[in-house]
Each structure stands twice: as C-alpha cells, then as structure tokens.
Symmetry: C2
Subunit: 327 residues, 2 copies
C-alpha cells in the first residue's frame, strides 16, 4: 500500500491546515516523503527549533487564522487534498471557554468548507475528529455505530464539524472522510508548553526527570496510537475513493492503563517519578473511563493497520525528546 500512496501523492497539491502542530508536522513530513507539494495554513509560526526546521523549511507556509475568509479562499484554490487538522484541542479548556471553542472550531471549519464550496468543490478533505464524540463507552471495543454522547464542548463541536464535512460532501460533492482518532503520541512537537496529549506529557516529564502525576490510581485503559500509524491512516483516507462520505475509528488495537504507560515512560527514560493524587473535579467530570477502538472498518476499507506497539513507540518518543530537550 505504500506504493499506492506514493503514486497518488507524487506532485499532488496538498494543504495541511494546522500543519505546524504535532499531527500536522508529522503529516507534512510524510507527505513530503511521498513527493507531494505541501502547503501549510497555520495561525502561528513557532520559533526556530533544531528538530522541526528540517521539515518546516520544505513547506510553503501561510500564516493565517482559519476564520480569515479572504486568506483561506486564496489558499484552498488549486489544492487537490486537504488535511483539515487546524483547531483548538482540549476538552477541559473547551468547558472553561465554550464560546471561544465554538468560534475557533465551528466557525473556523465552516469558513474553510465555505471556501471549498465556492472555489474548489471537487477537493478531497480528511478531517480528524476524536474518540471523545462517543462519550463514556457503553461497550468495548467501540465501533462507529456506538451511540454519540459528547461530554465536553470540544467533543460536541468535533461532532458538529464531522457533520459539516459529511453535509458538504452530500450537498456539494466535496470528497470528505472523517477519522475518529484515539490518543496519538510521538515525536515532532515544539519542546515545551505545546505537549499534545497525555502520553507525550508523560514521556516528556520522564525524560526531564520530573514527576508524572496520575489522578486516582491511573487505572483507566486507553489505546495509544503512535503518530506514524495515525499519519498512515490520514494519507490512506486521502487517497481511497471508497472512504468518501465515511467515518472510521483510528486507534490502536491494544490498550494499556495510564499507570502502565507512566511506568513504561519512566523505565524507558531511566528517569522520572510517578505520583498519584485524588481526582480533580473538573477532570473527573469529563473522564470517559476505559476506551478501546474497534478499528475493523478502517482495516477493511482503508487497508490500514497500526504497526507500532506501545513499547516501541515510547522508545522512539523518548529518543526524540532526549535530543529535542538537550541543549
């Protein structure tokens, strides 16, 4: 299948919105490998970074907010595939500032889709949604027919933006695919405050020799997805005709507890320390319990399988942070 994606993306004009973030930069890196002409739309140019500049220097970068209609219109024209990764993440944050989350995530994505409808209605778009649209699982593993019960404003808006993409597909012919991703982790993100997701925060803390704080006993199970596996799912979704108008879970087939993840990070880094504290109320309220994705639809229709187990993924991520955090 790598042969197929390379054939498909060679010299393709591809736009990655939010392309300077964690998932974005990894996606760009892979698309460049596959021979695509990659443009990034992002609202923030991060400072120079020895680990990231190798990828960034090969991208066309447009710095603009996705709510800026005029700039978005210019950048979506002539693109053949869009990976629509822009947006604000963070379930707890979204509950603290719901109107801000609405404005960025819903208005932003509607602005992009409106530009596509007007200036590029035959484009292919891949939108990464979140496992959080399911809420607390009623059964495991969670397949795509599981009831939808978002427990945060962030998740409610992810679901709304999923629907925007599917509606624009049906009404205007845009080729849209939605991926509901679980918990990605791995290399390539700015070293400090922007740590994406819990696995990277743990690994980064271990490499720095800091404390990893677990709520309760850290007993909830999750399927952590190594970033290369997620990126492969994104690029496959973008080049698979049968994926149009479809929704796929993208997670790992195996789960570990948060405690196991923390222990693995500390053991692999040879540093760090685990402490447990009682659950803070604002996190308990949006905690969704054990989670495992049923990824059989993506396996069947995209020919996609995660190939990096958690031990290998943590090892590679520790190696990355060791280098990134060194002076």
């Amino acid at each position: 299948m790598n042969g197929d994606t390379a054939w498909f993306y060679k010299r393709k004009k591809v736009l990655v919105t939010g392309g300077l973030g964690f998932i974005g930069l990894n996606t760009c890196s892979r698309l460049l490998e596959l021979g695509a002409e990659v443009t990034v739309l992002d609202n923030f140019m991060p400072p120079a970074d020895k680990m990231l500049d190798g990828v960034r220097s090969r991208l066309k970068i447009a710095i603009a907010d996705m709510r800026d209609e005029e700039k978005v219109e210019r950048v979506v024209r002539e693109q053949e595939v869009i990976f629509n990764l822009a947006g604000k993440s963070g379930a707890a944050d979204s509950n603290k500032a719901p109107l801000n989350d609405l404005d960025i995530n819903c208005r932003g994505h509607l602005t992009i889709l409106e530009s596509c409808r007007r200036f590029n209605p035959r484009v292919t778009i891949v939108f990464p949604s979140s496992r959080l649209v399911y809420g607390k699982p009623q059964y495991l593993p969670v397949d795509e027919r599981h009831p939808l019960a978002p427990e945060s404003i962030y998740a409610a808006h992810k679901l709304a933006v999923e629907n925007y993409h599917l509606i624009y597909g049906r009404l205007y012919g845009i080729h849209a695919t939605v991926l509901r991703i679980s918990n990605p982790y791995g290399p390539l993100q700015a070293g400090d405050a922007r740590a994406y997701g819990i696995a990277n925060r743990f690994i980064q803390a271990a490499v720095r020799g800091e404390k990893i704080t677990l709520f309760g006993q850290g007993e909830q199970c999750r399927d952590y997805l190594y970033i290369d596996d997620l990126v492969e799912a994104l690029v496959k979704a973008g080049c698979t005709e049968a994926a149009r108008g479809r929704i796929y879970n993208i997670g790992d087939s195996a789960t570990v507890t948060l405690m196991e993840l923390a222990q693995l990070a500390v053991a692999t880094a040879g540093r760090g320390e685990i402490v447990t504290v009682p659950w803070p109320e604002e996190y308990r309220a949006i905690e969704t319990g054990d989670f495992r994705s049923d990824i059989s639809s993506a396996a069947r229709e995209l020919g996609w399988h995660p190939s990096t187990n958690i031990a290998e993924g943590v090892t590679r991520t520790v190696a990355y942070y060791r280098e990134a955090l060194a002076d």
Copy 2:
C-alpha cells in the same frame, strides 16, 4: 396528569425564549392557563394582531437577541423553568447561510446556557430539537437510538445544541431535557410570512384559496403533530424529574402523505388547489423521505400521548386561519 402540571406550574417563574413565535406563543398561552408567571425573551416584537394580543398582553416581554449576554443574564435570573424555544428555523436557509445559522443557533444557545451556569445553575430547561438530527431514516418508526446523520447545517446545529444542554446538565447540574419534535402545526402565529412548517403553509394557502405546491407527487409520509399536543409534551418535560438528562421523540403516532395533508386542507377549507412540480434540487438534497417517530419513551416516562388526530387538527387550524385572515 393535567392536575399535576397545574400544581407544578402555579405561580412558577417560567421563561420562554422565542416566546412570540408559533410554538412559543402556544406554550405561553398554556403556561398562563396553568397559572405560571411567564416571561418571554424574543428578538422581535410583531405588530399588533387581534388573534395574538390576548396572550401577548399577559406576558412580561423582554425584547433582546439571545446572543446579547447582558440582557440574557438579567432575564434568566430567578427563573425556575426555561423553555428554550429561540433560534432560527429552516433547513434550506441554513445551508445557504451556514455561518449565520451557527451564530444564531449555537452562539445564542451557548450564551443562554453560560448565563444559567453563572447565575441560575439549578434551573430546569426544556430544549426542542428536531427529528432532522436523524437524517434519512434507516428504519421506521425512528426511536431515540436511531443513528444521527443530520443532512443540513440546521440539523447539525440542533444536535450540537442538544449536546450543550446535556453537557451543562452533567457538568453544572442544570436540569435539561431534549425533545426531538416532528412536524408541528396549528393556530397562533402571525398571519403572513412567518408560517411555521409545511402543514401550516398548506392550510393557510387553502384558506386563502391559493395554490398548494407539492414537489414530485407528495408521496412522503410524515407524522404531523398538533400544537396542543406538542405544548403538553413541553410542559410535562419541564415538570418531570425522571426527564432530566433525557432525550425524547415527540411526534404523532399516525402518518399521512403530503398529498393527503394537502387534500385534507383543501377539503376542510372548501377552497384552494393542489399543483405538483418537479423537485427543486436544493430541496431534494435535504429531503429525508418517509418519517414516523417512535414515541414510546415519552409515553412511558412523561406520561404523554398525542390526542388530536390530523382531521381534527386541520379543522381547528382552518377555523383559526379563517378568523385570523378575515378583515
């Protein structure tokens, strides 16, 4: 059960947002009957109207947009129950102006909920969503577990606002109930342009002796719900503890085709004429086919049953329009 609702609402402070619209005014009328102190928040004061002023004159009316944080804050304080009926309706309109629909329906309702969270977190809220969140039915009758596949921006936003209410219930203790209503019709709306829903448009056209235009052969089946039955569902939802955090379909148990509805309107009015035209593309794209609600959850948990059949409902509505449209 009427005894129960009368006991509950007597001297209760109740806010009806969108209270001057079709569903709103009928709800206010019933709440006044039940002895409630009714305040209305609406963004528009309709002109004097002989049929409506009897109700309107007994309401406290605050004219303000629901996005106006300051005014909303003042009006939600001290309310015991809120019927959250404000918003812009119209699936086809929403697809033409999606950002406008977002701003009114999502930002508006988030603004109301944020005000409740800050100033009145123990309030009870009933939110009327729409059967349109289900999209094209995969089976009939449609129960509340039917997959959600909104086919218009309006329906996507109804689903988002459902989720806002349920999330604010879980996070902040607001008592929220969502009703997914089918196609209401009946008396009490301003005579002209603001005809709500297809049934009232047909009946109004028949009473005026005008043409009723059907797309295709008008063969799609719907469950039309007489407004008094809908209002009864709203007031029951507002006073039933078991309804908190729950979603109920509210429709009629019987269906008729659009053609049958049009014929009934013409026969009852003794005027009017039915014409059929090919489907316009913008309507075909959002047409959801036959629909019938499974209303057994509402029957069981709210003790609610629709009691007005379509022949009786059309007769009452024709009588209303005859008087309303007479000079």
